[in-house]
Subunit: 306 residues, 2 copies
Amino acid sequence: MSLIVFGSMAFDDIETPFGKSNKIVGGAATYIAWCATNFIPVKQVSIIGGDFPKEELDALSSRGVSMEGVQVKKDEKSFYWSGRYHLDMNTRDTLVTELNAAGAFQPVLPDSYQDCDFLMLGNWAPQVQLNVIEQLKRRPKLIAMDTMNFWMDTAMSDLEKLLTKVDVLLVNDSEARQLSGQYSLVKAAAVIARMGPKYVVIKKGEHGALLFNDGHVFFAPALPLEDVFDPTGAGDTFAGGFIGHLARTKDISFENMKTAIIVGSAMASFCVEKFGTNRLREITKPDIDSRIQQFVDLVNFDIALV
Amino acid sequence: MSLIVFGSMAFDDIETPFGKSNKIVGGAATYIAWCATNFIPVKQVSIIGGDFPKEELDALSSRGVSMEGVQVKKDEKSFYWSGRYHLDMNTRDTLVTELNAAGAFQPVLPDSYQDCDFLMLGNWAPQVQLNVIEQLKRRPKLIAMDTMNFWMDTAMSDLEKLLTKVDVLLVNDSEARQLSGQYSLVKAAAVIARMGPKYVVIKKGEHGALLFNDGHVFFAPALPLEDVFDPTGAGDTFAGGFIGHLARTKDISFENMKTAIIVGSAMASFCVEKFGTNRLREITKPDIDSRIQQFVDLVNFDIALV
């Protein structure tokens, strides 16, 4: 029973109304791993350049992240992204994207990864995400994936093929609308489910997240925070909490997915409190438990009074 | 023990991506009354012209709305508003506003209204809202009010004076931001609470509503609907459900306010399903009970699994 996390490990350079991060460690798989290791060890699949900090790799290893599936291109640079947020943290401008080492990534799954029961595919070209699935000799119990508008514009047929192979799609609201051609998120989720994923998770940033499955719907709010300091990685952290909880409990029922959505929301609420992965590095099990209790208090009401 | 509802009774002319309403009955106090009478009788305070339909007044009377405080200006026309929504139903363009009879409204509370324990002040000039409060010889158990950006631009000192006299302010997110000068809704609520209202309700349309009180926060989602057909009056219907539940249960604790927020959200989810008050006219007690159960299912999760 193990969890594979696939996605980018990168450098980010972030500007928000609260300040500048300068060049820091980022990437979908980095956030997912920092988050999911609170619940279960992770087998990482990614690619980095020779400039990726050894201390970061050591820190992840010591948290229980296997690096056997992480390719190191010594003479190349790591993926680099630079972006700017405005007061409305739900949208951002990309300033620079340099693929570098990630440009021609051909993932190779080590034999030791073949016991995979849970697979989390972070955002990447759908053809490469599909390649990871196809390398597994036994289908995992649950495959979840993220994607983005860019692939809908440039690789829609690959994406459609991939969607038939996965159980859970996690996307944000604008991505769900583009993928489905529906403005209503209820209708969008129904259209997407017909494309393959039985479970559709639509993330609405500060407005929470919706889980759709077979006519049922569950809603988790985002925690109302005094300030969202840096939303970078919040979606990946959400995915890490979601898949981490499912992999730890080995229960993929709709009921347990609800709880997984709350765990994801709680973890994302930490992520946005500081730049990059900084907050995720600090938090402890009691912090997480107390944050999840805040979500209980946030939405619980007494139906008997109605 | 009674509930007074103050606000406009009007004609609306609405255009949405789904169609045109033509001239139909609307106005804050109309929506609030149609909604709140599911829970408790209403004593209405408003003003209408000679053109307001007798059938509408009869329909409201037969639901338990006292019309003694509604002035009829026989030779004038009723307040008229025309507006257009786009695909994003959270914003709208006002096309026409004609105050007509409402222009010089001086409300006069009948003696029979002096037993008021719950007062809901729909959006109007704050000076006139204040005048209603000042006519009550005994302070109600709870005073709730709505307002809008227009009064912050044009009558801020009146609004500030009024805010010191009320218990609950219900505003939408952009209004909360303008009133407080804070972008973060958590900070906005704290600033507004210092202006007077112990309870601050911030409505976020399709993204739900937040209730703040003394460092506590509660969140109610909006029901995910296939289509929001017409959002006009949803905020007023929310207010009607909120105050109606509180007045019926006579319990103004924070715990019961949470339930009142859910009741308001459930009622608003009906309102948006058809033009104007059409859906509110149809629904029955079993419809309401079943809708509230949908809210329970929407947010309930099993903490024991975490």
